[in-house]
Amino acid sequence: MDALYRDYILDHYKNPRNFGELEPHSLEAHDVNPLCGDELGVHLVVDGEGTITDLRFHGQGCAISQASASIASEELIGMKADEVAALGADWLIDLLGIPISPTRRKCALLSLKVMRGAISGDASWPE
């Protein structure tokens, strides 16, 4: 068993959940990882209570960035938008459950960066 490319990571890479676009949507953001050219966009639907009721992500990237977006998407549906805006890097790294080296950190965190950006407009990298 590969420590990084574990079965569930490859499964999310090959069969991403919540992949595509969502029309209509209430929030959206799009971003790139300038180092590698990977790109990721997200469409969110937030209800009157501030709860994320649906989301889709789209774009292209490596197994780590795509699996990260797919795995995160399953957790984010049902969460409060302001909770998501406050999530840090550790939340997603822990959720992925694989050793992320410094060179792959941005791959892993691009999805959270885009989702936080859609909600709060804060386009900084999660720390």
């Binding site: 490859l10 050219g37 990237g61």
Partner: protein, 418 residues
Amino acid sequence: MESATTTAAAAKPLAEVRADFPILRRERDGVPIAYLDSAATSQKPESVIAAIDSYYRQSNANVHRGVYELAQEATDLFEGARERIAAFVGGETATTIFTRNATEAINLVAYAWGGANVGPGDEVVITHMEHHSNIVPWQLLCQRQGAKLRYLGVSEDGQLSLDQLDEVLGSGRVKIVSVAHVSNVLGTINPVEEIVARAKAAGAVTLIDGSQAVPQMPVDLGRIGADFYAWTGHKALGPTGIGVLHGRRDVLEAMPPFIGGGDMIASVGFDTSTWNDLPWKFEAGTSPIAEGVALGAAIDYLSAIGMDNVRAHERELTAYTLERLEEVEGVHVFGPIDPDSRGGVVSLELKGIHPHDLAEICDREHVCIRAGHHCAQPLMREMGVPATARASFHVYNNHEDVDRLISALQTAREVFAL
């Protein structure tokens, strides 16, 4: 072709040169490094490292002005290196300008020549296969001057079209054509003599970006005939921090300086100054002296091998790589298929595995390849991919390095359950 070898040393068998590069003895868990990223930067032979060391231990002083013996020695080493570097590519010493890298060399032309010669409505022509360093300076120039930036396309098999060049030149507004000699992604060796001749006939000035050419093949500036030719030291076995711009004398003399400061002046008054002779007019401030001396050692090393031999080695390794890649299911190679028309760089994609994941799995086997857009995003867009994986070679690479790459690609297919 005259590759102007001043060092009379006999050609060294290429199998022996690997031992000249100390870094290649680096191991991880007993596995030696397979360095396949020389298009990004080359490794350095012992003689280049020793040149830097001995310069600082024995000969360091500021150049051009000291009256004492040590300063004269430093000046002789630095200017002697310039002379040999110029001769290496068939250039003239006085028109061989040291810069920080090829990027700065191209910026020098875009600012100093471009600012004085490109105006509103004029056109600048580059191609879709350029490195960002030969795109962004021209975008900035065109924005400043109100000029138009035009691109030549790249065909499916990685070639430029001379017909399209003629068509673009037909506007009569083209002031400069700036093209890579060898593509850092596709490996394409462009027909630069023909491009220069056609541009010249249309009244345009030419710049050739030789960053990927000078390190790996004989280059004869006289035969190419470009007004400007730029390259960088660190890809040619030399140190970082030094690049070269060769220019045509009359063009350089008519140009205003780029950066102002010491060493580039003849005299300085309160309001105005007059400029030093070539090449120093374009070398403001203290030069990268140790780097210049070490780049001299690098071209001595390459000359001793012989650039025809270097080119033959690159061609053979590229052909071997292309052949072995056919064994790996799902591999698609970008650029020309004929090794005669490409340099020592192979960009590829493996269906189902992103280039970053490929590079990561290669690294586990201590095989260094590059993944990404290779500072050529417009080209990536043309090819319809976000990134590629790229292996590139220099004199120290051998079949075993390629074999290890192939085996790592097979491992990646297993990891990804393909």
